[in-house]
């Protein structure tokens, strides 16, 4: 599934419209503790988190993730979004809860770990 298809699936808005959204999402994860995410991060991952500060972008970029998903219409501050756009990291904002987002992703066959 591409980022674009994922965005439609979870009714998300792309917060980084300057970036391409044809990259394939390899797996999904949700957690708000950054060291846990560091331990699980994978290339192409879609990561759902309520954290919005700059370090979220740093963690996602270091792990080469495909996108970060903000649940429940949480707004990421502009400086974080600008940094993500600079680094080529897509940020999606969804009205759904983290639980519902992961439920839809799992139902569509997005795995826990990249194949």
């Amino acid at each position: 599934m591409t980022i674009a298809e994922l965005a439609a699936l979870i009714e998300a808005e792309n917060q980084t419209p300057s970036l391409p959204i044809d990259r394939t999402v390899s797996c999904g994860y949700t957690c708000d503790l950054l060291s846990w995410v560091m331990a699980h991060g994978e290339e192409g991952m879609a990561w759902v988190t309520v954290q919005t500060h700059m370090n979220v972008v740093a963690v996602a970029v270091l792990a080469d993730m495909a996108c970060v998903i903000m649940p429940e219409n949480i707004d990421m501050p502009k400086e974080s979004i600008d940094k993500a756009a600079d680094e080529g990291l897509v940020i999606l904002k969804s009205p759904l809860t983290a639980y519902a987002i992961c439920g839809r992703m799992a139902a569509q066959g997005i795995p826990e770990k990249a194949e």
């Binding site: 708000d32 503790l33 950054l34 060291s35 846990w36 560091m38 331990a39 991060g41 290339e43 988190t49 954290q51 500060h53 700059m54 370090n55 979220v56 740093a58 963690v59 970029v61 270091l62 792990a63 080469d64 400086e79």
Partner: protein, 140 residues
Amino acid sequence: MSFIHAEYPVASGDYTRAGEASADIKRRLKQLGVSSMVLRRVSVASYEVELNLVIHSLGGQLILDVDQDGVRLTSEDVGPGIPDISLAMREGWSTANEEARSLGFGAGMGLPNMKRNADDFEIESEIGKGTRISMRFALT
């Protein structure tokens, strides 16, 4: 012979710039053609050690060396030191303050993540003096 030597000062409490040294280290190693597997392990360890300098230390530096033995990452700081290293190495142990925890740090997973990802991991610390962590990653 060293292919790369770089030093990155890391300021205590500077959350907005935290992670910049690790991002630069990753960029340099990628340019050098280091495999994505090794790159990933170095990235996890460098990020954790850099963030510990920001969160727990009074300031320090991160040093990158690459030679035929692989990648070496060294972290040195000027204090406060770690009273009990075996406790600090335990998964889940953290003395992170409220501010750090509110940002999602303080799971007590950083040092275990470093140890798991590095091929060699050494830590020494002296109260009032500082902490030194040295990690090596084989290139193959």
